[in-house]
Structures are given as structure tokens and as C-alpha cells.
């Protein structure tokens, strides 16, 4: 599989790529609706709609996968699996149950966490993937980030930073270990030496506080 991918990497990027629309904070609402519509159309087999979903979210999907699995090659695998899963399951996306962004990132996060856990359970992670940490020029980005993208990314990072600052240190630690490192609630409890119920409550409290913080700040 990896060998194939090496070749694919050399293929030309489709020309319609310039369509990609960064969702800047100013028109986030309209973008969210447009994205939900694209995902629904993807569910009906519309490949062009899927390509636009890809262009809007692939960077986020890949970034999240990378943050969690760390290894660039693994992250690319996870991103690919997640994006293909988006295509496969798109008909089951329900716009009335949440945003397209959340649906796609839920798939991505789960894939990434599952991968981290299975990698950890096979102790051969370094053997298999260590050498690929050296990223060659061919792995460089698909397109140069434009100014809007960069500002948007900064805005999002700042928003998350502010949200995390609103948490207690214990809550931040709980999310660091679970959301970003893939610990289960049991692993969190045992690694911190706290009761399981406390661990569950701490994760939930942290998420609720973040949610409320961002709702107020919106």
C-alpha cells in the first residue's frame, strides 16, 4: 500500500482545486450550511460535492490526525481512511443532528485514537514507522497557504487556547490525555490515581466548560 502511495503522490493535482473556500469566521454560519448541503449531496453519490467537502476539511482532518498519531505517515493513512469513510457513510449524516464539520471530525478523531491504541498494543511502532519521520520534499504541502487560511488558522488556535485557559489545570490535563493522547477513561483514572467516576466526570465537566465558554464567546 505504501509503495502505491509513493507513486500516487506524483500525480497532478486536479485543476479545480482553486475552488477551495476557507471558512473564515465572518461567514462561518453560511459556510457551515453550505458544507452540510455538500455532505448530504455526497451521500447521494455526488463526487463533485465530495471533492468540495475534501477541499474544505482535508487540512483539518489531516491536522487532527497528525496531532494525535504524531507520525506523518500514519497521519496520512488515518486521514485517508477517515476521508474515505466520510464518502462511504455520508448518507447517514443528519444535518439536524449536528454540523458537517463535527461529523467529519468525529470520524477522524475516532480513527486516529483507534490507530494510536492499536499501534501501542503492537509494540512495533518505532520499527515500522520510525524511519519515515524524515519527511522528504515530496511530502510538502499541496498548495501554498494563502493569507486568509493563515489568519483563519490563527483565529482558531487563539480561540482554542482561550477556551483551554478557562479550564482548571486538572480539566486541561484530562483532555490532553484523552482527546489528544487517546487514553480511555479507565486509563485516565489509573494513570492519575483517581476513581473512575471522577475521571468520567472530569472529562465531561471539561467539555461542558469548553462548550459554554465558546458559546458565550461566539
Amino acid at each position: 500500500m505504501s509503495a502505491d502511495r509513493g507513486e500516487r503522490r506524483l500525480r497532478a493535482v486536479p485543476a479545480d482545486h482553486a475552488d477551495a473556500t476557507p471558512d473564515a469566521p465572518a461567514d462561518a454560519r453560511a459556510d457551515a450550511d453550505a458544507l452540510a448541503d455538500l455532505l448530504v449531496r455526497t451521500g447521494r453519490g455526488d463526487q463533485a460535492a465530495f471533492e468540495r467537502v475534501y477541499d474544505a476539511l482535508a487540512g483539518t482532518v489531516h491536522g487532527l490526525a497528525l496531532r494525535i498519531v504524531r507520525d506523518p505517515q500514519l497521519a496520512e493513512d488515518v486521514a485517508q481512511e477517515a476521508l474515505v469513510e466520510v464518502w462511504r457513510a455520508a448518507a447517514r449524516y443528519r444535518p439536524d443532528h449536528g454540523s458537517a464539520r463535527a461529523w467529519v471530525l468525529t470520524i477522524t478523531h475516532r480513527r486516529a485514537v483507534d490507530r494510536v491504541r492499536s499501534e501501542q498494543s503492537h509494540a512495533d511502532r518505532l520499527m515500522n514507522h520510525g524511519p519515515r519521520h524524515a519527511v522528504g520534499a515530496a511530502d510538502q504541502v499541496e498548495k501554498p497557504e494563502d493569507v486568509v487560511d493563515a489568519m483563519d488558522a490563527q483565529w482558531r488556535a487563539a480561540r482554542v487556547r482561550k477556551g483551554l485557559e478557562a479550564l482548571t489545570p486538572l480539566q486541561r490535563e484530562a483532555l490532553e490525555l484523552t482527546y489528544y493522547k487517546g487514553y480511555t477513561n479507565r486509563q485516565l483514572a489509573e494513570s492519575l490515581g483517581i476513581p473512575l467516576g471522577t475521571a468520567k466526570a472530569r472529562i465531561r465537566d471539561a467539555m461542558i466548560r469548553l462548550r459554554d465558554h465558546w458559546e458565550v464567546a461566539r
Binding site: R11, Q140, T168, T178, P195, L196, G197, R204, M207
Partner: protein
């Protein structure tokens, strides 16, 4: 609302669950509007965390993904006609389909078959304290606590589970004949008199009373307890205040009675 299953919601939203826990929570989710609504908000929150990590996708990923979807069949939509069992297999959001989902499903089935036949489970405070303060004496045996949580969840998510007000604060009973179980739980239960504990009784059709577990609400008024026995012939559930450790026969008048 089942506060105990609900307590897994944050962990579920950030995927800090095992495949078994995921399957259990999703089975519950279908039936619980509170959880569904709260989960939607927490998923958006998790997505906001996640999108801050955006990093440009590697060159070639786009072509590679588009090539793969060209040979990947799409799932049909889920409809209201789909049996809950089919929905369970994949969850409300069809994630982890395939290898992982299947394993979880099988494990879940095994668990149900092997459901432990506890006669009377110890009363255990539900653990909703913030900042690490928990009724630690009641948490002494974490495995018991886990077993109880799991059993309670099985009962409250049983297809024939019925919920009734118990009358101690907003505490309620959940009864499942299929699971031969009664669960009592609450989160604002008044405390019994000094030196006393609550005890659950099963009042039989002939008026006799079977002694159930004692339980003690924690400082927040939270408690959870359960009894496992054949519900046939049980006319009512009663609660009395008894000396610590419980009694073989009720020694005081009932503080709550619920007819079945």
C-alpha cells in the same frame, strides 16, 4: 435520565471509551433524548478543539482519496425502519464500521449472556463530584463499582425498563422484568437520620417483605443501588430508615413506597 450511563457522555464525546463502553453507550443513546441532545453539543465542542490543529494535507492525498472512493460503495441511509439491533451495530453515527465495530458487537453480546447474577449489590455512591472529591469509603472497591455501573446500565437500557418516581427527592426506580432487576438512583436524596441508612424492601403479593440493600446518599444526595431477583410476585418496592448495616425485617415505617 440515567445519570450513571450519562456520566460516560464526556468520555464518549472524546472517544475515551473502550469498544465495549462505546457499544453500551450507543445502545443507550437511541433511547435517551437527554444524552442525544447533550452529545450534539459536546461533539461540536470536540470539533472546535480538533479544527485548531489544521495542517495542510500532504500532496497526493487528494488524488489518492478520490481514487479510493471511486471503488468504494456507499452505505444506504439509516431509516426509522432499521431495527435497533442493526443501528446498535454501527451506532448513531456510523463510525468504526468493520473490524472494530464487529468486535464490539460480539463482545457486547457475550457480556449480555454472561450477565452476573448478583443477588444484592452493595450500595455505592454515584460519582459525580467535581475536582476529585468523592465519597471515598464507598469507592473502596473500584471493581465492584464498575460491575455495578455496568449492571445498572444494562437494566436501564433494557427494552422493558420502566421508570417510576421513588419519592426521595427526584430519585427514581427503574424496573426490568426481563433483567429481573430493580435499580434505585437519585441525585438530590435527603439524608437519613444520624446513624441510620436507607434500606430497600421488596414487598411481595402476600405482604411479606424481602430485605434489599442499604444505601446512603453522598454529600450531594447522589446514590445508586440495585437488586437482582425475579420480579414475579413483587407487588411494591419500599424504603425504610434502618440502623447502619440494615435489618432483616423493617424496624420503621416506610419513607417511600412504589407499587409495581
Amino acid at each position: 435520565m440515567n445519570e450513571n450511563v450519562h456520566s460516560l457522555i464526556g468520555a464518549y464525546a472524546v472517544d475515551a471509551v473502550t469498544p465495549d463502553e462505546r457499544a453500551d453507550f450507543e445502545a443507550h443513546l437511541d433511547a435517551c433524548e437527554d444524552c442525544t441532545a447533550e452529545l450534539a453539543g459536546l461533539r461540536e465542542t470536540a470539533a472546535t478543539l480538533g479544527e485548531a490543529e489544521a495542517a495542510p494535507a500532504p500532496a497526493g492525498l487528494r488524488a489518492s482519496v478520490l481514487e479510493e472512493i471511486g471503488r468504494t460503495a456507499q452505505l444506504p441511509p439509516l431509516t426509522a425502519d432499521d431495527a435497533p439491533a442493526a443501528r446498535d451495530a454501527e451506532g448513531p453515527v456510523p463510525l468504526g464500521i468493520g473490524r472494530d465495530g464487529q468486535d464490539a458487537q460480539e463482545r457486547h453480546a457475550r457480556q449480555r449472556r454472561g450477565w452476573p447474577r448478583l443477588a444484592v449489590a452493595a450500595a455505592v455512591a454515584s460519582v459525580l463530584a467535581v475536582g476529585g472529591l468523592v465519597g471515598s469509603t464507598l469507592m473502596a472497591d473500584r471493581d465492584d463499582q464498575l460491575a455495578l455501573e455496568k449492571d445498572v446500565m444494562m437494566v436501564t437500557s433494557a427494552p422493558d425498563a420502566k421508570s417510576m418516581d421513588l419519592g426521595l427527592g427526584t430519585a427514581h426506580l427503574v424496573v426490568s422484568e426481563k433483567m429481573s432487576s430493580v435499580v434505585a438512583m437519585g441525585d438530590d436524596c435527603p439524608h437519613p437520620k444520624e446513624g441510620m441508612a436507607y434500606q430497600l424492601w421488596l414487598v411481595m403479593d402476600d405482604g411479606s417483605k424481602e430485605a434489599g440493600p442499604t444505601f446512603m446518599p453522598d454529600s450531594d444526595g447522589t446514590f445508586m443501588t440495585m437488586v437482582h431477583m425475579d420480579m414475579d410476585g413483587v407487588a411494591a418496592i419500599a424504603v425504610t430508615e434502618e440502623p447502619m448495616g440494615g435489618s432483616a425485617e423493617p424496624t420503621s415505617t416506610e419513607v417511600a413506597v412504589v407499587g409495581l
